[in-house]
C-alpha cells in the first residue's frame, strides 16, 4: 500500500517535471559566450575548452574526487581471497591482441579531444578497460602494487595543480592559461597525465583491494 502511494507520488512528480520542461521558456544557452572565448584556449572542441579552461576548477576537483574514491576504496575494502584469473587460451590471446589496440586508440582519443569529441576522460576510461582486461587474465600489473598505484591515482590531480600554479607565473591567476599556443600545450599536457591517472585509478577501483596490497592475507 505504502509502495503504491510512493510509486504514484514519484510518477506524478516526474509528470510535473516533464510539464515544467515543456512550458519552460527557451533560454539562450552559453554557446555564444563559449564560441566568443574559444580562440583564447587554443583548442577547437568547445566541450574540451569548457572542461579544461572555462570550468578548470570543476575538472580539477573532479580528478581529485576519483583519487579520493581510490583512497576510500583502499581503506574500506574487505580482506577477501581474490578470484582466480581467467587464464584460458582464448582470454589470454584476446588480451594480448586487444591490449596494444586499446593503448593506441586511447592515445588517439586523447589527441583528437582538442578538435573533436574525445579527451582525457574518454581516453582514460578506455585505457582502464585495457588494464582491467590484463588484470582479469592474470597479469597483476606492477603499476598498481604499493606506492606506484597510489602515486598513479594521484598524478592527475598533482599535474593539474602544478600546471595551474605554473601558469600563475605568466598570468598571475590560478588556472588562467597564457594565450592560445601555450594554452593548447598546457591543456594537452594536463589531459595526457590525467588520462593515464584516471585509467590507473579506475582499474584500482575495479580491483578494490585493501590499501596495504595484501588482499588474501588474514581473510576470515
Amino acid at each position: 500500500m505504502a509502495a503504491a502511494f510512493l510509486g504514484g507520488f514519484i510518477a506524478l512528480a516526474c509528470l510535473a517535471l516533464f510539464a515544467a520542461v515543456l512550458v519552460a521558456p527557451a533560454a539562450p544557452g552559453l554557446e555564444a559566450a563559449v564560441a566568443a572565448a574559444l580562440p583564447e584556449t587554443g583548442v577547437t572542441n568547445p566541450v574540451t575548452g569548457v572542461l579544461l579552461d572555462f570550468r578548470g576548477y570543476d575538472t580539477l576537483l573532479e580528478v581529485a574526487v576519483i583519487a579520493l574514491a581510490v583512497i576510500g576504496a583502499a581503506a574500506l575494502a574487505p580482506r577477501e581471497t581474490p578470484p582466480a584469473p581467467l587464464a584460458g587460451p582464448v582470454a589470454t590471446a584476446a588480451a594480448a591482441v586487444l591490449a596494444p589496440a586499446i593503448v593506441l586508440f586511447s592515445g588517439y582519443l586523447l589527441w583528437t579531444g582538442g578538435a573533436r569529441p574525445g579527451g582525457a576522460f574518454q581516453a582514460g576510461a578506455l585505457l582502464a578497460g585495457g588494464l582491467v582486461l590484463l588484470e582479469i587474465t592474470g597479469s597483476r600489473p606492477w603499476w598498481r602494487r604499493g606506492l606506484s598505484g597510489r602515486l598513479g591515482a594521484a598524478a592527475g590531480t598533482a599535474a593539474f595543480l602544478i600546471a595551474g600554479l605554473g601558469v600563475m607565473a605568466a598570468t598571475g591567476r590560478f588556472l588562467d592559461y597564457p594565450g592560445p599556443d601555450w594554452g593548447y600545450a598546457v591543456i594537452l599536457a594536463i589531459e595526457a597525465v590525467a588520462a593515464v591517472s584516471v585509467a590507473v585509478a579506475l582499474s584500482a577501483l575495479f580491483a578494490a583491494e585493501p590499501g596495504d596490497g595484501r588482499p588474501g592475507e588474514g581473510a576470515p
Partner: protein
C-alpha cells in the same frame, strides 16, 4: 513532439524509475543500481537541454554531463566497496 521533448520524457522516465527503485528496494546493490539509473536520467535531461533545433549543441551542459558521469563512476565504485565491506563484516 520535438527531439528535445522526447529526450526529456525518456530522461524523466529513467529518473522516476531510479527514484522508485532507490526508495522501494531493500537490497543495497539494487539501491546502488537504481541510483545510477536516476543519475543517468538527470544527465540525459542535461543533454536534452543542450539540444538546439538548427545549431550545434550548447557545450556547457555536455561538459557538466561528462563531469557527472565521472563522479558517478567514482561514487558507484565506493558504494560497491562499502556493500562488500558490510557483507564481509556481517558474515564474520
Amino acid at each position: 513532439m520535438t527531439s528535445e521533448a522526447l529526450y526529456a520524457a525518456v530522461a524523466l522516465a529513467l529518473f522516476g524509475l531510479g527514484w522508485a527503485g532507490l526508495l522501494l528496494k531493500a537490497a543495497p546493490l539494487r539501491k546502488l543500481i537504481a541510483l545510477n539509473v536516476m543519475s543517468l536520467g538527470a544527465l540525459m535531461l542535461l543533454v536534452a537541454f543542450a539540444w538546439r533545433p538548427d545549431a550545434p549543441p550548447d557545450p556547457v551542459p555536455h561538459a557538466l554531463a561528462i563531469t557527472g558521469i565521472v563522479v558517478a563512476v567514482a561514487a558507484t565504485a565506493l558504494g560497491l566497496v562499502l556493500i562488500r565491506r558490510v557483507r564481509a563484516d556481517r558474515d564474520r
